[in-house]
């Protein structure tokens, strides 16, 4: 049924005769140095491909887009671990004098394969949005529903309903300052299909303020911080979660560009049942730290060569399985 939404957005965007179609293909290869945790125990060669096709139709009063992205990744002969991520997303936005309204959706299928691994997880996300003006500055509010299903022998299902409202204060032409509030209601359920009736679950709320700062002119610096109070059946309330993101980048000498990303997640949970590793608290997705540095050179108007290095930890399923380590890759992007 989720794919019906994809087909509808594809039809909508394609039905406009002058929709712009763009594509993008990235191939990179390099070296993965494992942190020695969990699934990847040996350093290995890493290869990645990313292919995207996007349709965009834009007019003064509305805009529609649809894109499909395919991303396979292979962690070499020693580990024999492969990932395949397929994503489709779309949006529709309508503009009027005092109110911009629209909707985003995305459907993601992630598959992890390997000798030690066979995990699938799907994420469906639907997000209506409203943007208006309040006291002369933009005020945006996003409502969302997200459903995630992880299959790894058992099944874990996550459902979220959330709202993020943000007010943007603008200091001058190139500087943006915004603050807002995030509220989320979540339900997590663990179904043991094969191993008996035992069913763990957790329900709760997360909420807290956020702040965003951005400067964009001849270089970009963007930073956001949010703190969330976590109330749920599994933790003593309130527990806290902190998320900090820093992005910086600049175009150098016309054809070179450099970007840095640092993304931290800090959790301070006090579990009610002690520190049980099997305690079901929340989704492992979107809970990892990462740092990346990218240096790119524009070969032509339609292609780039780049070097990228960074650390990431990807939580594959709930039960402490993860892929963590440093990667050093070189690649080419065609568009």
């Amino acid at each position: 049924m989720k794919w019906i939404l994809c087909y509808i957005f594809l039809f909508i965007t394609a039905s406009y005769c002058d929709a712009q179609i763009s594509w993008n293909l990235t191939a990179e290869a390099g070296y993965f140095k494992t942190s020695g945790e969990d699934l990847i125990l040996q350093d290995d060669i890493l290869t990645r491909l990313n292919a995207q096709v996007k349709m965009l139709y834009s007019e003064s009063s509305h805009e529609a887009s649809f894109s499909v992205n395919i991303h396979p990744e292979y962690l070499g002969a020693k580990n024999k671990t492969a990932l395949l991520k397929v994503k489709a997303d779309g949006s529709y936005f309508n503009y009027s004098d005092n109110l911009n309204a629209g909707v985003n959706f995305s459907v993601i299928k992630n598959n992890y394969f390997g000798d030690l691994l066979d995990v699938k997880y799907d994420i469906f996300s639907f997000q209506p949005a409203l943007i208006t003006s309040f006291l002369g500055n933009p005020l945006s509010t996003f409502f969302g529903y997200t459903n995630q299903r992880v299959e790894y022998g058992g099944n874990i299902i996550y459902d979220l309903i959330y709202n993020e409202t943000e007010y943007l204060f603008l200091n001058d032409r190139y500087f943006v300052l915004g603050a807002g509030l995030y509220t989320e209601r979540f339900v997590v359920e663990n179904e043991y299909n094969n191993y008996g009736v035992q069913k763990l679950s957790n329900k709760g709320w997360r909420a807290g303020p956020l702040i965003n700062i951005k400067y964009l002119r001849d270089f970009i610096i963007s930073s956001s911080y949010r703190v969330m109070m976590h109330f749920s059946e599994s933790v003593h309330s309130p527990s806290y979660e902190h998320q900090i993101m820093l992005l910086a980048g600049k175009v150098l000498f016309e054809k070179y560009s450099i970007f840095l990303l640092a993304d931290f997640y800090i959790r301070d949970f006090k579990l009610k049942n002690g520190n049980s590793a099997n305690e079901l608290v929340y989704s492992p997705v979107n809970q990892q730290n990462k740092y990346f540095l990218k240096l790119a050179y524009e070969l032509t108007e339609h292609s780039d060569f780049f070097l990228r290095t960074g650390y990431s930890k990807e939580n594959v399923d709930y039960i402490t399985n993860s892929i963590a380590g440093w990667s050093f890759t070189a690649g080419v992007e065609l568009r």
């Binding site: 939404l5 509808i8 997200t146 175009v251």
Partner: protein, 314 residues
């Protein structure tokens, strides 16, 4: 908790969608339709002006009657009842005018695209003849007449476009028109330099933003869960709304786009529904501003070509 009913979403979305486009019709048919809609709009606008005047007279009559020492209550009631009817008629007429204006803007957009396609195909012909060049000029002039945006200029662009050098025989008159065209040419060249500077700056900002977004996509691919830490779930419109209302940005946008109505049509539109990229710079995002500058640049360059051609003929 069950997932949201997808069918409900699909049905709601289907009814929210914009109407079918009119692309693919022959140009003569579109021009005829445009002329017809413009003419209807003129007519309805004149009707509205007349009814508004009547309503105003009626309001004055009511006011005068009330101020009398012994006002005629029956007359006042009769006048007010008629005013209500008149107000309803005016409201219906205003809705009709807005609908016609929207239709006219849609047709202008389609005509602009059609003219652009014709101009491009004529320009790409191998071994262009003089006739082809004149056809290109003719369609360029037509495109400028339906241009959505044009800078505020000290001369009348539509007057110059419609100037016919072969109809001017008097040498003195020819000299006057030639000076007028040359002065217009100089002004256009200055505007092009100014807009180029703005356009190049916005271009580099947008390019940097695009590269940053690509980098975030590559590194945060998995993070489609709940809020996006990097606000990637915002649509383009949502992100770009950050650039509205910055004071320096607005005043510059107003300078460039307050530059707006001169070339739009022979009768400027009062359509408030279409104000996103036209008169209402409050809603102008960085991307829209970039589009505005690009269109202004294209129109100015096209107009410069017309002026150079006219200057040769005088």
């Amino acid at each position: 908790m069950k997932p949201v009913n997808i069918y409900f979403i699909v049905i709601v979305l289907f009814f929210l969608l914009p109407v079918v486009k009119m692309q693919g019709q022959p140009i003569a048919g579109l021009e005829k339709k445009y002329a017809s809609v413009s003419s209807s709009l003129d007519y309805e606008q004149r009707k509205l002006d007349s009814l508004t005047l009547q309503l105003s007279d009626r309001a004055e009559s009511i006011s005068r009657e009330k101020q009398k020492a012994s006002p005629d209550r029956e007359k006042i009631t009769r006048l007010m009842a008629n005013s209500v009817l008149l107000t309803n008629t005016i409201n219906d007429l205003q809705k009709k005018i807005i609908s016609l204006e929207n239709k006219k803007e849609d047709l202008k957009s389609i005509l602009r695209n059609s003219y652009t396609r014709i101009i491009d195909s004529l320009s790409n012909l191998p071994g262009k003849t003089n006739e082809n060049e004149l056809q290109i000029l003719s369609f360029t002039a037509k495109k400028l007449l339906v241009a959505q945006r044009f800078p505020d200029l000290s001369f009348q662009p539509d007057m110059i476009i419609n100037l016919n050098p072969s109809s001017v025989n008097n040498p003195e008159e020819k000299r006057i028109f030639r000076d007028y065209v040359n002065r217009a040419l100089k002004e256009i060249e200055e505007k092009i330099i100014y807009i180029d500077k703005q356009y190049n700056e916005i271009n580099s900002i947008l390019a940097l933003q695009k590269k940053a977004d690509k980098f975030l996509e590559e590194t945060e691919y998995n993070d489609e869960y709940g809020f996006s830490r990097n606000r990637r779930n915002l649509t383009e419109a949502g992100r770009d709304v950050e650039f509205n209302n910055s004071k320096d940005y607005l005043s510059n946008a107003e300078n460039v786009s307050g530059m707006l109505n001169q070339f739009r049509t022979i009768q400027p539109s009062e359509n408030k529904q279409r104000s996103n990229l036209t008169t209402n710079v409050q809603n102008l995002s960085l991307k829209d501003y970039h589009k505005l500058l690009k269109e202004l640049r294209e129109n100015l360059t096209a107009f410069k070509t017309i002026l150079l051609h006219k200057a040769k003929l005088f």
